[in-house]
Amino acid sequence: MKFLSIILIAVVISSCSMFKQPVPVVPKFPNATPDLMKKCENLKQIEGDKVSIGDMLKVIVTNYTLYYECSTKVDGWQDWYNEQKKIYESIKK
């Protein structure tokens, strides 16, 4: 009877471990925010033959603004990646 119970326990345990399968649930890849998906604008060029220093300055200012807008997007992407990574890793494996 002792022998029989040992065999039974072994069979139960073997069945428990024989059919281990991965959990078929995968989180959906997160969408990026719409503004992050917009491409950075090209920098403006100075146009015209006789250009005053004032006009040139305005183009330069516009380009600085465009640069900072684009850098905001890059910061946004870094934020997005770090936050989504943190969230994804919070799922217990």
Partner: protein, 154 residues
């Protein structure tokens, strides 16, 4: 475990219980004349059924645990997806606000140039006497279109 798609939980329990009963009849109650006659086949059948039943019980327990785990992970994934969407909204708001401020500040500087800088006597004189040389404009434009050079390389 595929077998549980065709065998219900109840049948698994029945097989296991049947195995126990058959083994009992085969080993313990063999002194009863009717059972004693079929002792050996009963013992073999009982043991086989019991072992198969025990195997299925183990599988069933494992399957239940697995289903529980699936539900747990599904709940976690749903929670994580909500968190992710919330974070996206937060990031989007941050970008929109920053971009808006940048645009406003840029416009302010341009307005300041039109309103103040260009009207200063010193600047007016400079503008009248010194138009920006074409070479400087070309150099600026070349720098502003550096990305085109990268595009051409692709």
């Amino acid at each position: 475990m595929w077998i549980f798609t065709i065998l219900s939980e109840f049948i698994v329990h029945c097989i296991f219980l049947g195995g126990i009963l058959l083994t009992l009849f085969g080993f313990v109650l063999s002194f009863i004349p009717f059972i004693g006659k079929y002792r050996i086949p009963l013992q073999i059948l009982g043991l086989l059924t019991l072992v198969f039943g025990a195997f299925l019980e183990g599988g069933l327990a494992d399957n239940k645990e697995w289903e529980l785990k699936v539900k747990e992970v599904e709940a976690q994934v749903a929670k994580v997806e909500t968190q992710s969407a919330e974070k996206n909204i937060e990031i989007q708001e941050k970008i929109v606000t920053k971009t808006k401020v940048l645009k406003e500040k840029g416009d302010e500087v341009i307005k300041y140039i039109d309103r103040e800088v260009v009207k200063k006597e010193e600047v007016i004189k400079y503008i009248e006497n010194c138009p920006v040389p074409q070479d400087i404009i070309d150099a600026h434009n070349a720098a502003a279109t550096l990305n085109n050079a990268v595009k051409d390389k692709k």
